[in-house]
């Protein structure tokens, strides 16, 4: 941990230096910063997800996962960027060694804490990353190494063997918890979340998620990708606990689901 913090600080300094000296894009200078998880996929994925924008490893972006993925199709992870404050534009999460790396892109907005928990699939032991874009245009990257026996992405969904989902697709079970001036939503959605990597089962996954307040305004906006687990479970913390909320989901087949929480 200490090492990561050190390199994060170093990165910030390098970034600051480069901005001062030339005003050029920071990405080039950041390559000096070694990946604390030492992954051969880091540079490749960074270019895909962060492009040419300035970035830094930042211990304030916490990604937590169990030490070992007991069930690689249902791995609980939490991304917490609370330490960065509220000036957050978006959050992207990915798993380096998944055949489909992208897990989600999230636009937290002002009415939700920058903390989310959900379950994902992993194909093998992999770094799980979260990159948080703050409004000053810098990506802050955190991550954790997840150990796993693997196979989560190319195993057929249980929905493939059991037609239960066909008559319960998009059903939502939800709970609301009060906690210290905020309100926590946890919900589970019935959906196979097929990756398209299993023979003869096309990809079929929830693609958009919105949590809307009573005025219909989205307080949570998230794009999802096939590594999100089957029958996914999400936890969000709302800053403003009053009022009713509505969950809206759409999958890549154009099915839309709406549920009052």
């Amino acid at each position: 941990m200490a090492k990561r913090t050190m390199s994060a600080v170093l990165g910030t300094m390098l970034l600051a230096a480069s901005l001062l000296s030339s005003g050029a894009t920071g990405a080039a200078t950041n390559t000096a910063q070694a990946d604390p998880l030492n992954s051969p996929m880091w540079d490749y994925n960074r270019q895909i997800f962060l492009g040419q924008m300035p970035w830094q490893f930042d211990a304030r972006v916490q990604v937590s996962a169990p030490p070992f993925a007991e069930d690689p199709t249902q791995v609980p992870i939490t991304v917490d960027a609370s330490a960065l404050g509220s000036e957050i534009d978006k959050v992207i999460a990915w798993a380096d060694f998944n055949p489909i790396q992208h897990i989600f892109t999230w636009y937290p907005g002002d009415k939700v804490k920058p903390r989310v928990s959900l379950r994902i699939k992993v194909q093998q032991a992999t770094p799980v990353r979260a990159a948080v874009l703050t409004r000053d245009g810098v990506w802050h990257v955190g991550g954790v190494q997840l150990e796993a026996a693997g196979g989560g992405c190319t195993a057929p969904s249980t929905g493939n063997a059991d037609p239960y989902w066909e008559s319960h697709l998009g059903e939502v079970a939800s709970r609301r918890f009060g906690s210290e001036g905020s309100s926590r939503y946890r919900f589970k959605v019935i959906h196979p979340m097929d990756t398209g990597l299993v023979n003869n089962i096309p990809e079929f996954f929830l693609e958009q998620l919105e949590l809307r307040d009573s005025a219909g305004e989205a307080v949570v906006k998230m794009q999802l990708y096939p590594p999100v687990s089957e029958n996914p479970v999400f936890t969000f913390d709302l800053s403003n606990s009053t009022g009713q909320h509505q969950l809206w989901l759409r999958d890549n087949s154009g099915n839309e689901f709406e549920q009052a929480l």
Binding site: H102, N252, S253, G254
Partner: protein, 589 residues
């Protein structure tokens, strides 16, 4: 959706907006493009090469002299293990081909290179119940949308550039046996579809949806007694009971599960502003359970596209007892008689008769057999109603000793029909209909049956027999004015693909043996054949690009024949499955 589906993960709207297919301009398909499709040779934007369904092209660069040099330019594989019957007709617009595959898949292909641009795979529930293979017959195009019907009875509109779902509507409940296999029809901004499911006691219907939004515009049941609806300003309004009232031509409650599924889709003629949809068999197959004409089963319906009302109907097989669906395409054509232009429609029925109707009012002009043998009827009366041969109707099981099986009889044609789904072509140049037909018989008997949701509702057993050792399929050139057969081509296996005729004096069609074939339209002489590697059960198209004429056809053996083949199975069991689209042109001179 693959390929473009997952980008670098920004907002979907941005993803879609940022996507462009290199080097292609997209004008969007308009109602006018669709109405003029037959004459605009640089695209194919309707099923049937024009809403009249004539499947005739004025192109003639490929003709009886040059066709011998026809060469494949590219072949595109649908991939996967889902190589079942491929009955699609491709569409082409602005350099992109849109074609469907088995299992509700859609592909967009660069026609210059054969490269895939995108692919959409519907995630189908395991519980789908298509009676006769997991096929699809093609898309409709409108604006920047690609619209098709899925096997779980949904209408799905995809963005033509990205393959992303724009809207999706449930047309009917797949768990009750409904599915969609036909290409939707696009008329005046509405997408019009029927439903499949006549083997499961569904209630057939034709529905119109706003093509841009997917909002339901009207719904017209095709079984007498069911209420139709129209939506005005979002309000659902009663729009008249089909046939006026229940029970006029059905006994008891049987109209509630009457079938009559318009599963093959329809055609449209702007001259008379009518949609023409054929309807399937009444349910169940056992006709003794439903004395009466059983309207509007085994019929042709003319429906006003604006109001959703039935303007006229013509029933080809009243009280059908042989599974003679009347779904076959109604092809509008004009001809001169006594100096007058007759607005006619030609249609070749599963029951073995070819009908010429007045398409303005549905009046019977003439009818004649287009197959060599018909046993179930002795002929047609002056109104076109069959004169039944009662000895060739399967016997009533209630009259049998144990009440379990009625007398088995031999009927010709078989239930798969003198002609099945495969569409005919009408050539303006020759004035002939080119009819893909089959010569086969069946043994059929009736059994007691009762309706159960989602279960086969037949009340019949059957098996197919061939009539000739050397052929089943016959492609016929027929003069609709006289009923005269001008020529025939005989095929060993049953024919199951559509026909295309061109101003190059050619008739194209494929066979289950895998060949794309071209015939002299006047003499029937075979001028060309090329083996595509699997059986052809789709419909060929032709268009031009850069001054060259192209011909495309899908290849992939399947459909109803291998599932229901009976004694015929031995003629086809060696045919291998496939899933590809082939494109041909002449070598550059």
């Amino acid at each position: 959706m693959s390929k473009f589906g997952r980008g670098t993960g920004f907002a979907i709207t941005a993803l879609v907006a940022g996507m462009s297919v290199a080097g292609m301009s997209w004008a969007g398909v308009t109602d006018k493009d669709i109405l003029n499709d037959q004459m605009t040779t640089d695209d194919v934007v309707s099923n049937g090469l024009g809403p009249k369904g004539q499947r005739f092209s004025p192109l003639k660069r490929v003709n009886t002299d040059t066709v011998k040099d026809l060469r494949p330019v590219w072949s595109f594989s649908f991939g996967g293990e889902k190589q079942r019957g491929q009955e699609s007709q491709p569409m082409v617009k602005d350099g992109v081909m849109y074609v469907t595959g088995s299992y509700s898949r859609v592909f967009a292909i660069d026609v210059k290179t054969g490269d895939e641009l995108w692919q959409y795979d519907a995630r189908l529930p395991d519980g789908i119940m298509p009676c006769c293979d997991v096929i699809n017959r093609g898309v409709a195009l409108f604006g920047d949308l690609v619209i098709f019907g899925s096997l779980d009875a949904k209408l799905i509109a995809l963005n033509a550039k990205t393959g992303k779902v724009v809207w999706k509507k449930k047309v009917a409940d797949y768990k009750a046996g409904y599915s969609l296999t036909a290409a939707p029809l696009l008329v005046n901004g509405k997408v019009i579809t029927g439903v499949s499911g006549g083997e499961f006691g569904v209630v057939g219907k034709v529905e119109a949806y706003d093509a841009k939004t997917g909002k339901l515009a009207w719904s017209r049941p095709t079984v007498e007694g069911h209420m139709g609806y129209i939506w005005k300003d979002g309000k659902k309004t009663e729009n008249g009971i089909s046939g006026g009232a229940p029970g006029k031509t059905w006994p008891g409650d049987l109209w509630k599960t009457g079938g009559a599924a318009p599963w093959l889709g329809g055609t449209y003629d702007p001259d008379v502003n009518l949609l023409f949809f054929g309807t399937g068999n009444p349910a169940p197959w056992n006709s003794h359970l439903r004395p009466g004409d059983n309207l509007f089963s085994s019929s042709r319906l003319a429906i006003n596209p604006d109001t959703g009302k039935i303007v006229w109907h013509f029933q080809t097989t009243p009280n059908d007892g042989w599974d003679y669906d009347g779904v076959n395409e109604v092809v509008s054509f004009d001809y001169k008689a006594n100096g007058k232009t007759i607005k006619a429609a030609g249609t070749a029925d599963r029951n073995g008769f070819f009908y010429v109707l007045n398409r303005e009012n549905g009046e019977f002009i003439r009818g004649f057999p287009f197959v060599d043998e018909i046993t179930w009827a002795k002929g047609l009366d002056k109104n076109g109603r069959p004169i039944y041969s009662e000895a060739h109707r399967p016997g009533n099981p209630a009259a049998s000793a144990n009440g379990k099986k009625g007398t088995s009889i031999r009927a010709v044609p078989s239930f798969l029909g003198g002609k099945n789904w495969m569409p005919v072509s009408y050539s303006k140049d020759s004035g002939l209909f080119y009819v893909p037909s089959n010569e086969w018989a069946m043994d059929i008997w009736n059994e007691p049956v009762s309706y159960k949701k989602g279960a086969a509702y037949l009340g019949a057993g059957f098996t197919i027999k061939s009539l000739n050792e050397d052929y089943i399929g016959v492609l016929r050139a027929i003069d609709p004015k006289t009923g005269e057969e001008k020529w025939r081509y005989k095929n060993y296996a049953p024919l199951w693909g559509g026909v295309l005729s061109t101003a190059g004096n050619l008739v194209f069609m494929g066979n289950p043996e895998g060949y794309l074939m071209a015939f002299d339209a006047k003499t029937g002489e075979m001028k060309y054949k090329f083996n595509t590697g699997s059986g052809i059960v789709g419909s060929p198209i032709t268009w031009e690009m850069g001054g060259e004429q192209y011909i495309s056809v899908v290849s992939g053996w399947g459909g109803a024949v291998p599932l229901w083949g009976g004694e015929v199975a031995k003629r086809i069991k060696h045919l291998n499955q496939g899933g590809s689209v082939w494109t041909f042109k002449l070598p550059e001179s």
